[in-house]
């Protein structure tokens, strides 16, 4: 009798969910940060908002105001970087297209970029992304801001030449610390 009870309780303990419950398929979509994709080359699916914001001078200048007001310039200066990486060069640790920059602003990044979710609206993030891309002159010249509001003494972005975009980190930055 005792032996059968023990064996029954042992049977109960053996019950377990070995595979986990399947997750909803919502994880798909959103920008990719990696250029490596399992099984096939990546298919960038541009968000239709990207082109709208990026080629809109108003959105870029609103982004410029936000860049200063939200203290982005405290870390990234006027594109040259500081505590945070440079944004006017041709290297992008987490991708430099509009969707990837918005994702960086929304999610934050592990080595010090903070998440602005709940502090900026989606519209503000798109405006900021458009301005960030203007730092390396990705847009047409007539979209780029000529001057900043504050006395920054930096060259107007209209004098900058367009940088190629590379998904990589500069040498020296990717040490143990990254």
């Amino acid at each position: 009798m005792i032996a059968s009870l023990v064996s029954l309780s042992a049977c109960d303990r053996e019950e377990r969910e070995s595979r986990g419950r399947p997750l909803a398929e919502a994880a798909a979509g959103g920008p990719l940060v990696s250029t490596l994709r399992a099984g096939e080359p990546p298919h960038p699916r541009p968000d239709p908002r990207a082109a709208e914001y990026e080629n809109n001078a108003y959105a870029v200048s609103q982004g410029q105001k936000l860049f200063q007001a939200m203290n982005c310039s405290g870390c990234h200066a006027h594109g040259g970087g500081g505590m945070g990486p440079a944004l006017m060069d041709d290297q992008w640790r987490y991708g430099g297209n509009m969707e990837q920059i918005v994702a960086t602003l929304d999610q934050g990044r592990p080595n010090g970029m903070l998440s602005w979710r709940g502090r900026l609206t989606a519209q503000q993030m798109w405006q900021l992304a458009a301005y960030v891309r203007s730092l390396s002159a990705q847009q047409r010249q007539d979209v780029l801001p000529g001057r900043a509001d504050e006395p920054s003494n930096t060259e107007p972005q209209t004098l900058r030449s367009r940088e190629e975009m590379h998904s990589s980190s500069p040498a020296g930055v990717q040490g143990t610390a990254q």
């Binding site: 939200m70 594109g79 040259g80 505590m83 930096t154 900058r160 020296g172 610390a177």
Partner: protein, 633 residues
């Protein structure tokens, strides 16, 4: 063996004998010259036995007698001793033989950020704390090549890198009772067993989400570990704390802003000047609530006078940089505190830059000296200050005895010794909507964090510092926790003469420079003086140099693999010989242009360094490496 070979060997032996005789004659000649020099009174090297007593130099300034600790050949704290002299009495390596100095061994830290730490040497071991991720390496000096005995990895939060204003540096560890104490970037003070590397305790002291980090080297005194936070550029509330060395429990914690009870100001507080007296100045000298994000971080150097039981440290800049957002004196930022080590109660405070206009932190080292002032020996502290003035202060009372500019100053008109107050130049005052040009010294100051050294041989203070001026444009800063709180666009550039760095040998008694060495790049390394009459320092393009303390003449140099922003040390190895050690590895505030790959086309990159050191990436590359030097033996 071939006959020809034998003949060669005989000839070689003959040549050796000739050389031997020449050597003996040379030694005799040198001996005579040496004796003449001694008779002439020019050679004031102390004899071998004089290692415990400070030696009076030509100025009459000596290491504070109250410190009284002998030199045992070890290096147990970043600044060598409580007086922060950075003087090693070892004299095996001297002005005559230093040209034969060569590499004894090297060690790669595997990290590419700025290496500002001083290595420690205790017994037969060397201890190195690296920049983030703050590894601690213990090297066994008794074995050939000094292999690693243990490594400790504290695993600081990766996100802490995002709130470290000026590279993710660490300025070193401290040692007492077989324990190594150090700070992590994510605000922990940790004690390790020095023999095994086992963690004995850790105490969390701050929060990266409020912009706090810890980068300073602790000082251990009277059974307490003294530490402070960093983050003046992030609008933190500065503090300085004493932890029980045995348990890590917080013994006391003094804030730099807020009501007197938070600042540990009580009946014992007796500042020398009226400007520093009053009730709750940490609240009333600010606009409402601005003190809560007012900075005053204690990220620099700590000294200790065991006789007075006073601990000395400076406070950093108020937040934000834009001075128009914080009318008032902004106490207790940009000044120096003297506190009782037992209970933390403030004895005195002196505000070197009231209502700081230019990010002129007051965190510089306090070198404790005894020296003649108007014919009387006084117990003083020497502070080569970021605002450009070399202060001599009575360390018991906080009285300013002298304050003379040690480089070109346009930002101020001088220090009033009656009121103690620094007089700003109104023409240079930052105002929103205009750019002020030609401000000297710049925000990194006449001298930033990198510590000076004192030599009792000469009585001089050797200051590695900047020759930089700047343009400043203010704008309104918004406080958002965990983000920069600055409100200024700045650009630095070389000051008069066109060179960006200087090493000044300063006579603290007569308040004048004795000699200067111009350096092209800003000087960001500490200095070391030795009993052999030498001064060691490094440059941002990687040269490690030895110069004559008396003349500044370059006697030896070695090109390390990366720019030097570390603190040189000297120790006696287990074999009894003298060694010199330095960490090479560019970074820090100016060096982040290399270690964080900034783009110098933006002159404001790195809060103003883009315009000043845009050439640095062509002159050096990142990478941390320890270099240890010795004479051939």
């Amino acid at each position: 063996m071939k006959p020809g070979y034998i003949r060669e060997a005989v000839l070689a032996a003959a040549r050796r004998r000739t050389w031997l005789w020449a050597g003996v004659l040379l030694l005799l000649a040198l001996g005579i010259v040496f004796a003449i020099v001694r008779l002439a009174g020019h050679d004031s090297l102390p004899s071998e036995s004089v290692t415990t007593t400070p030696y009076a130099g030509s100025t009459g300034a000596i290491t504070a007698r109250s410190i009284g600790d002998g030199d045992d050949g070890q290096w147990t704290m970043a600044a060598k001793n409580y007086a922060s002299t950075r003087f090693s009495s070892a004299r095996e390596i001297d002005t005559r033989n230093v040209r034969r100095l060569h590499v004894a061994f090297t060690f790669s830290t595997g990290i590419v950020k700025g290496h500002e730490a001083a290595p420690l040497v205790i017994g037969g071991m060397m201890y190195i704390v690296t920049p983030f991720p703050n590894y601690v390496y213990a090297l066994d000096l008794t074995q050939p090549g000094a292999p690693v005995k243990w490594t400790f990895k504290p695993k600081p939060l990766s996100a802490a890198q995002g709130v470290a204003c000026c590279d993710v540096v660490n300025r070193g560890a401290a040692y007492a009772d077989n324990r190594i104490f150090f700070n992590t970037l994510d605000n922990r003070t940790i004690a390790l067993d020095a023999t095994t590397g086992r963690m004995l305790w850790e105490t969390k002291l701050g929060d990266i989400n409020r912009g706090e980090t810890m980068t300073m080297a602790p000082l251990v005194a009277g059974g307490k570990v003294l530490v402070g936070n960093a983050g003046g550029e992030m609008g933190v509330r500065g503090w300085f704390a004493a932890l029980d060395a045995a348990t890590g429990r917080i013994a006391w914690k003094a804030f730099a802003t807020g009501p007197d009870r938070d600042v540990l100001i009580g009946p014992a507080y007796k500042p020398f000047y009226a400007m520093d007296r009053g009730r709750d100045l940490g609240v009333t000298s600010w606009p409402p609530d601005a003190w809560k994000m007012g900075g005053g971080a204690a990220w620099g150097w700590v000294s200790y006078d065991p006789q007075l039981r006073l601990v000395y440290y400076g406070t950093g800049n108020p937040g934000p940089w834009n001075p128009e957002q914080r009318p008032g004196d902004n106490k207790f930022a940009t000044g120096v505190f003297a506190r009782n080590i037992d209970d933390g109660q403030a004895r005195w405070f002196y505000q070197s830059s009231p209502h700081d206009l230019f990010d002129h932190d007051g965190i510089n080292e306090q070198i404790l000296l005894d020296m003649p002032v108007k014919g009387r020996m006084r117990g003083v502290m020497a502070r080569p200050e970021r605002n450009g003035y070399f202060y001599i202060m009575d360390r018991a009372t906080g009285e300013v005895l002298s304050a003379k500019a040690f480089g070109p100053v346009t930002a101020y008109k001088g220090v009033d010794l009656k009121t103690g107050r620094l007089a700003p130049n109104p023409a240079m005052e930052p105002k929103e909507g205009r750019v002020v040009r030609g401000i000297c010294p710049s925000a990194p100051g006449m001298k930033d964090w990198n510590p000076a050294a004192f030599s009792p041989l000469t009585g001089l203070v050797y200051i590695p510092h900047n020759n930089l001026c700047m343009d400043w444009g203010s704008y309104e800063a918004n406080y958002i926790a965990g983000t920069p709180y600055i409100g200024a666009d700045v650009k630095y550039y070389a000051g008069p003469g066109g060179h960006r760095g200087v090493l000044t040998a300063w006579d603290p008694v007569h308040q004048r420079p004795v000699w200067r060495i111009k350096e092209d790049l800003p000087l960001w390394s500490g200095a070391l003086t030795t009993g052999g009459g030498l001064l060691f320092y490094g440059t941002m393009d990687g040269w490690f140099k030895a110069v004559d303390q008396r003349s500044g003449k370059l006697l030896w140099r070695f090109k390390t693999g990366s720019g030097i922003i570390g603190q040189p040390i000297s120790y006696r190895g287990p074999d009894g010989h003298q060694y010199i050690a330095i960490l090479s590895g560019v970074g820090g505030w100016p060096g982040s242009i290399v270690s964080n790959a900034l783009d110098a086309r933006d002159p404001t990159a790195g809060n103003g360094w883009g315009s000043a050191v845009g050439d640095l990436p062509q002159k050096t590359t990142a990478g941390g490496m320890l270099y240890v030097f010795a004479l051939p033996h």
